[in-house]
Symmetry: C2
Subunit: 249 residues, 2 copies
Amino acid sequence: MNFDVTGGHGVEPGQLRRAPMFSSLSEETLSTLGQSAELRIYERDETLFSAGEHPEYLHILIKGSVQLGATSEEREAVVELLRPVDAFLMAAVFTGQPYLMSAKALTTAHILQIPSQALLRQMTADPQLGMNMLGSLAQHYRQMVRQVKNLRLRTAAQRLALYLLHLVESDNSGRSTTLPYDKRLLAAHLDMTPESLSRSIADLRKHGVDVRKDQVSITDLEKLRAFCRLDQVLDALEADLKVIAPQDD
Amino acid sequence: MNFDVTGGHGVEPGQLRRAPMFSSLSEETLSTLGQSAELRIYERDETLFSAGEHPEYLHILIKGSVQLGATSEEREAVVELLRPVDAFLMAAVFTGQPYLMSAKALTTAHILQIPSQALLRQMTADPQLGMNMLGSLAQHYRQMVRQVKNLRLRTAAQRLALYLLHLVESDNSGRSTTLPYDKRLLAAHLDMTPESLSRSIADLRKHGVDVRKDQVSITDLEKLRAFCRLDQVLDALEADLKVIAPQDD
């Protein structure tokens, strides 16, 4: 994914097309969106926006890593760890409601920003854009339902086991891979303390996965699947969901 | 909300229009949707669909009460308690993916069923229908984000306190109301055991709310808000969210 930083001169349609949610759109729609879009680079630890703010842009992560999180007086939750290419918190943008979570760059992050008004106007002009957004929002909704189910139906060790299974699966790396985040962040994402993460990592050795420093090796896939109660349908990874085309009458 | 049971003869446009997500649509769209729609009555405890099934209809709760839930070998979670009028699990319908949760009638429930294919065809024919669905899905997404935040940032007693605050607020009943569900169900909804629900109810007397049997009285609103760390913006109740109309260029 190569997007050029624009410095206030818009984004070329051909660049927008590389984002899955834009790939099927007309040249005209991409050209209109591109005119008001900007590519911005955020430094590591920089805040993109805070919970409670009203959205001005649709944000799309192009390169790097972003966390969505929330805090109370006592606690901090890392709700999502985003990887490119993904639009995020679009529900607030469409409805003009305040963001429910804050977004922070975890690495240098390249973010495509499309002004809300330009996006809404173009959704009216080109219904296919609205449909693509509906598919993307549906995917994010299902991701949140999965998180609720994980928090309520799985133990912390089972959540970690499922995370490691999906990590290896999404990397297409056979049975071993590298943790993409440090353990403090991973614990905050999985609703664990760093101490309970360490204990769970030790426990999981007898359930089919070995984590040494940031190296993950699955030693017994079936045992690991059984341990985290993997459901092949309900726990399947979903990417680039689209609204299905209706069949002819 | 008076919808007539149709027994296979479709639903009148005027009846569909009473559902907020349909209220702004053209007579033509409602007439087309109504021709293939059915109103079905489910008995108490009857299953509407199970997690893992592929959606055939968009379900809209017209009257009565429905729970969305999920189970593992060891646990059961009641994720949402729906009240009319509300469409549910539409993300699965739009994308043709399996349901992630099961739906069960908690009372006799009147359900409007619109075949997925008819809905998708009409969304293509009338972009406003797609926009209304986007607004409704955005609201459900934000509801799930709130649940994740509640599970991760609030204690069980704080979740109960917030639930009671919202209950009194949504009933517009001043400072007292009646619990709409039995305590076993409420505990399953708030991710508590029935025992911890009883303890929390006793504890909450000193934090501004008194629950005796099914009667709820808020005795000190400010104390209760402070106890559950109410954020007036982030915890606001949202209903009938719509995609905002773009301003003129």
